[in-house]
């Protein structure tokens, strides 16, 4: 069992960025913060491979690159397939004496599209094959890079460009695919959810994922002010509210054993402190239609669904 990684704020602040300034992400883009933090949690030689999406495009506009580590992009579906190939190559090349590093961490990064939907096949396959890599999903809840279209990760009721709030249909009818739970069902060594406001928890989970011998999956909540039509300045605040309202609870599954992470544990222990989802939804343009007087029922649906999922999670974490 690897020793727990201990770090101070200064340690992290002083560690040089491996995801560099000068990328073309929007002002207030939390996926960019997430990537900066992920890279701060690396522990040695690292190779990153990324799926097509906001972070890929914003960080690699030829001839400029924001990556201070080896980085490969091939296509939209392929983050996990790439990681499989890199890991396999490193394994055999090391055996043949062609790689000098003792160990290289492989990180696959993808957004909703590259994880929930078009990327799920490769992800599922790579996990089933047991490759040693960390898959990080930066979840901004829609296909943002192509213009804010709905994804499997878009929550119920959210307005996107392919699930607009119209007069007959008001936002996405379907619910957010429980991707982390799907990954737990793969019986994989490590699955966790994280939110950048709780940066210590996020860093610790990245490091745990890297340390695991085998596949690890990290689902990171990453607000997008452009797609959510929210105040860029509040983007990190939304990542806090999501946890406080139990819209996005924080937990880990270590070899199938589920446990709540501290920020969500605090809510579980003091349920009176649980904030109503409206605290989180308000100020986001994508949910504005839910606040119309005729849509009270829709708003209630969002609350009850969040409550259902929260209760289910609590039950799972109790049987530890």
């Amino acid at each position: 069992m690897t020793e727990e990684w201990k770090f101070t704020t200064k340690d992290i602040a002083e560690k040089p960025d491996l995801f560099l300034s000068g990328h073309r992400a929007c002002a207030g883009c939390v996926p960019a913060t997430v990537l900066r933090l992920i890279m701060k949690a690396t522990r040695g030689p690292t190779i990153v491979t990324e799926a097509t999406g906001c972070m890929e495009v914003a960080s690699s506009i030829y001839p400029y690159t924001s990556w201070a580590v080896p980085w490969l992009h091939t296509a939209f579906e392929t983050a996990a397939a790439n990681a499989s190939g890199i890991e396999a190559a490193l394994k055999i090349m090391k055996k043949k004496g062609k790689v000098k590093q003792e160990h290289v961490d492989v990180i696959a990064i993808a957004g909703d599209g590259g994880t929930y939907d078009i990327g799920i096949q490769a992800l599922s396959g790579a996990v089933e094959r047991g490759h040693d890599f960390l898959f990080v999903l930066y979840d901004n809840e829609a296909y943002m890079n192509t213009g804010i279209q709905r994804s499997g990760g878009t929550p119920h009721g959210a307005a996107t460009t392919t699930s607009p709030a119209g007069t007959v249909i008001q936002g996405k009818l379907e619910y957010k695919k429980p991707i982390a739970e799907i990954m737990v069902a793969h019986e994989m060594p490590y699955v966790a959810t994280a939110s950048p406001y709780y940066w210590r928890d996020l860093l610790a989970k990245v490091r745990k994922g890297l340390e695991v011998d085998g596949p690890a999956f990290l689902h990171v909540f990453a607000p997008c002010p452009r797609g959510w039509r929210s105040d860029p300045a509040k983007s990190i605040e939304y990542s806090k509210l999501a946890v406080e309202t139990c819209v996005f609870p924080l937990w880990e599954s270590i070899n199938g054993q589920c446990q709540l992470s501290t920020p969500s544990k605090l809510v579980a222990l003091a349920p009176q402190k649980k904030k109503p989802v409206t605290d989180y939804l308000q100020g986001q343009g994508r949910f504005r239609h839910l606040f119309k007087p005729q849509n009270t029922k829709l708003l209630e649906e969002v609350q009850s669904r969040a409550d259902e999922r929260w209760q289910r999670l609590l039950k799972k974490c109790q049987t530890a």
């Binding site: 602040a13 509040k234 983007s235």
Partner: protein, 93 residues
């Protein structure tokens, strides 16, 4: 903007030839963060949360430094600062 190269001069497979730190995004901002040195407790949350890594902790100065050449003026630092030491001021050109 760089002077663009011919097909004979560039590396294959799109291997990037410049770090993005050569691309200054600071001119994107409308608002600029201004820090009140008295209120600032050097908690370093702004350093961690900045999407652009435009705020640095300088151990040799034991202080924070804003890199306005990359800051896009999003206001996350101001919003998250526990002591409200940062205010977003409208940039005047």
């Amino acid at each position: 903007m760089t002077s663009e190269k011919s097909w004979r001069e560039i590396a294959p497979a799109g291997v990037c030839s410049k770090s993005s730190t050569d691309f200054l995004t600071g001119d994107w901002k409308t608002f600029t963060p201004v820090r009140d040195l008295e209120k600032c407790t050097r908690c370093l949350l702004c350093v961690l949360f900045c999407p652009d890594g435009a705020i640095h902790w300088k151990p040799e100065k034991a202080d924070i430094e804003f890199d306005y050449s990359f800051c896009k003026g999003c206001g996350i630092c101001a919003n998250e600062c526990p002591t409200k030491a940062i205010t977003m001021k409208l940039e005047k050109e």
